[in-house]
Symmetry: C2
Subunit: 203 residues, 2 copies
Amino acid sequence: MKQLEERIRQEGLILSETVLKVDSFLNHQVDTQLALEIGQEFARLFSGKPVTKVLTVEASGIQFAMAAGIALGVPFVYAKKKKAVTLSEKVYSAPVHSFTRQETYQISISHKYLGPDDKVLIVDDFLATGAALVGLVQIVREAGAELVGVGSVIEKSFQEGRGLLEQMGVEVHSLARIAAMSPGVVRFVGETDAAAEQTKENL
Amino acid sequence: MKQLEERIRQEGLILSETVLKVDSFLNHQVDTQLALEIGQEFARLFSGKPVTKVLTVEASGIQFAMAAGIALGVPFVYAKKKKAVTLSEKVYSAPVHSFTRQETYQISISHKYLGPDDKVLIVDDFLATGAALVGLVQIVREAGAELVGVGSVIEKSFQEGRGLLEQMGVEVHSLARIAAMSPGVVRFVGETDAAAEQTKENL
């Protein structure tokens, strides 16, 4: 998605070879128009397959699940990271290890909102190690629902997430795929080093 | 908002005189069409006052901030509950006490995304004790931004939140105002006991 790649070039802050901040337009301050277009792009990429529900995990996946739900005309469900006091019924759950925070947490979804009749599109802001997305895939399978695929807004293609999901037989689409990055330079998949260098002055 | 009151009557689960679950359509599974209409209603209620930014707190405020941002054509910002590893710059922050969870946490917003030029509409899913919303108001004032008002989807009018915000001089609009509830019965503000009882069989 060209427009997204341009925004990453213009506004993304590369703090190290693995840490990219996009909190001016994607996951702290959110450009609502861009988010809507991201939802439409997910709907286009997975068109032809019926989807009954979009699934994500709180918090930064919510705006993109909402946008995809709007584009597809279906509800979305977000997995909770903490068991809520008011979430007393039975839940599907999976452990997720956060490499950024160096901690393992549980994600959970009520049995009421996912079942064998559902055809599920999973979306999230980032696909990197794949930890959260693998957890969501496990939950979809445990629920007996059909998994349509996984859509991520930004993929760090140099990390193992896509490979893990593909090994599980999951169709993956990412709207911006980063092959490599270093402070000041981001190279997208399919782009030459020279092209990445040329954009360096914009960063 | 009549449609919202009807959904609360049809699908809300009243677990006690203070705990209402609306996770089938508002804050676990989300009806995207209803969320969009909630955003339009916030835009209508605060129309006539320019808004440059919608503000909320993760996670369950995000879908309504997104919807209000779409209706108003502006970005939204969500306060984080934990300091992120990638959020290293200066932040505005406020302590919030959660009575549901019996814990106090910090909410924070980067200095980059809120400032004296902003005219801010704050939205959230619930207004009950007001703890999170008072924290957001404090942050808006600390940033020197103009506060347009606070919009909540559901207000528990029998709790102190609205009073606290009004004492701070804040304009408050809620789309459904619950005067009282008990298992099986919800009475909205302005409604007689008899009207609430009549709807009991739908619960």
